[in-house]
């Protein structure tokens, strides 16, 4: 077995073992982190591997969450059908944004994606009759089930989150190890040179953004159903910044960086907020230290200095 695949399977196995070892508080947190890591993986595909610095990914996460949530809440769709719709909604939103935003680059791309995300947030506010605006809405416990699987129970929620995480992680590994994955990296490294080898940058980046949107949509849909809440805070600007921070912290362009970044940031906020209401200042200092001493993120440094084969 290839060592990179073995490493990823070991991480998944480790998370499976943790499900029986962790106390309830951390058990729930870990399920939450696994879903956020799926979101971060989606961001990593766009930013870490393709070089698309988006500030609008909350729109894709929110598209998945609201598509699934509204179909269940207003249309009485079963979760088993509404969840894949959330995934598709995330991908479709990303492609729609990409068709316009990818005509720009650099700072302009950041601003355009930010504006799209803000438009998504305002849509949620505008259609308050359906979305219940800032307040959001809860999904009925009875509806949060796939067949016999009760997604509101801790054990099932953890198991389903782990399955989604495992599929996303192995999918990401397969993607970056594929020929298209090499082209994504080539595009990130030198778009002009890639074009001179016959690649259409717009097409490559649109596909990458679409896949990124699928990940984000899947994470948003699953998060809404498993934790029973759909709210506007998940479409707000802050939720576009978070995956960027997770990926930067863990290591952009590394497959396990998003998980590591999400874990560290989640617990950094969790612990710091126990000591001070200015916990975001602590996060800011941590990020400054990171940028100064490990600009490639933690796993980026590990790959550079210790484990060259780390994908």
């Amino acid at each position: 077995m290839r060592r990179d695949l073995a490493l990823h399977l070991a991480v998944i196995a480790g998370l499976a073992v943790l499900s029986v070892l962790l106390p309830p508080y951390h058990h729930t947190n870990t399920a939450r982190i696994m879903l956020l890591a799926v979101y971060a993986m989606g961001y990593n595909i766009a930013f870490g591997y393709t070089g698309l610095l988006s500030l609008g990914h909350a729109l894709f996460f929110g598209a998945g969450m609201y598509a699934t949530g509204l179909l269940m809440e207003l249309g009485d769709w079963p979760a088993a059908v509404a969840l894949p719709m959330g995934l598709l909604a995330g991908g479709a939103a990303a492609v729609a944004v990409g068709l316009l935003a990818l005509r720009t680059a650099g700072v302009s791309f950041m601003i355009v994606t930010l504006m799209f995300a803000q438009a998504g947030y305002l849509l949620v506010m505008y259609f308050t009759a359906y979305t219940r605006g800032e307040e959001g809405f809860n999904l009925a416990r009875a509806a949060r089930a796939i067949g016999p699987l009760d997604l509101s129970s801790d054990g099932t929620r953890y198991a389903v989150a782990l399955v989604l995480f495992a599929v996303a992680l192995l999918g990401q590994l397969a993607l970056v190890r594929s020929r298209f994955g090499r082209v994504m990296v080539a595009m990130r490294e030198n778009e002009e040179r890639s074009r001179m080898l016959g690649y259409d940058p717009f097409r490559v980046k649109l596909i990458a953004l679409g896949v990124s949107g699928l990940y984000s949509g899947a994470a948003g849909a699953a998060y809404g159903v498993m934790f029973g809440y759909v709210g506007a805070s998940f479409v707000a600007t802050q939720f576009s910044i978070l995956p960027l921070l997770w990926v930067l912290l863990g290591g952009a362009g590394t497959t396990l960086g998003p998980l590591l970044g999400a874990v560290l940031m989640f617990y950094l906020i969790d612990i710091a907020s126990g000591y001070t209401t200015a916990h975001l200042a602590v996060i800011g200092v941590a990020l400054l230290v990171l940028v100064l001493f490990a600009p490639r993120g933690l796993l980026g440094v590990v790959r550079e200095r210790l484990v060259r084969w780390l994908p």
């Binding site: 020929r179 090499r182 940058p201």
Partner: protein, 231 residues
């Protein structure tokens, strides 16, 4: 056959190429010489669709290509190795080659042919390309362009900054490509390098080809070198 007829073009409002006419034939090495700023690199970039052409035609085997999107030009069989190599640093040698193979759907046979030209790269397939020496990086840049199996190969100062053994290796590669029937367009500043491989030499000045000579009529002391290159 690649042919440029009366090309005008440049960057935004700055016109660099002024009625440039140029031809490169299959199985020949056509060198392009001129002072810095004469328009040599701009000419190559115009062929590749990277510079806006405002007048004239670029013909590949009689078909106009100047209207093609830039990413379509390599798919028609024109390879380009720009100045400065520009590899995909984090990718290994094998991965850089793989990226080169994909757009024209070339496979293992092409890969083997390319690696036969550069045995040193075969020994370093798993090495990250950013860690190669300058000469090896240039080999890889050329190898990657050859993965397209181009009928025309544009090389922009490929020996710049290389040690003599690497320069000789690149010269041998150019001659091998010529023998394979590739039309090689080589931008080069060094007279000895030009005279060792060229069939024809085009002298560029002020954005146009001022003179084209058979290489056999030139010596290191020919007046054209002093007039157009300043050596």
């Amino acid at each position: 056959m690649l042919r440029l007829e009366g090309i005008d073009g440049g960057y935004g409002a700055v016109q660099v190429l002024r009625g440039l006419t140029f031809a490169a034939a299959a199985g020949q090495v056509t060198c392009v010489m001129g002072r810095n700023g004469a328009g040599k690199t701009t000419m190559l970039r115009a062929i590749m669709g990277q510079v806006r052409v405002t007048a004239g035609r670029i013909l590949l085997d009689g078909q106009p290509i100047q209207q093609l999107p830039a990413h379509e030009v390599p798919r028609h069989g024109i390879g380009y190795v720009p100045q400065g190599r520009r590899l995909f640093g984090p990718l290994s040698v094998a991965e850089n080659i793989e990226v080169g193979l994909m757009t024209r759907h070339k496979g293992a046979a092409t890969r083997e042919r390319v690696l036969d030209l550069f045995p040193r790269l075969r020994e370093r397939l798993d090495q990250r390309s950013s860690t190669l020496s300058g000469g090896e990086q240039q080999m890889l840049a050329i190898a990657r362009a050859l993965c397209l199996e181009p009928s025309v190969l544009l090389l922009d100062e490929p020996t710049e900054g290389l040690q003599p053994s690497m320069i000789a290796l690149i010269r041998d590669t150019v001659l091998s490509l010529k023998a394979m029937g590739v039309a090689v367009v080589l931008v080069e500043q060094r007279v000895d390098a030009v005279l060792s491989v060229a069939d024809r030499v085009a002298f560029v000045t002020g954005g146009t080809v001022a003179e084209t000579c058979d290489a056999s009529t030139l010596t290191p002391h020919s007046a054209q070198f002093a007039r157009y290159v300043g050596v």
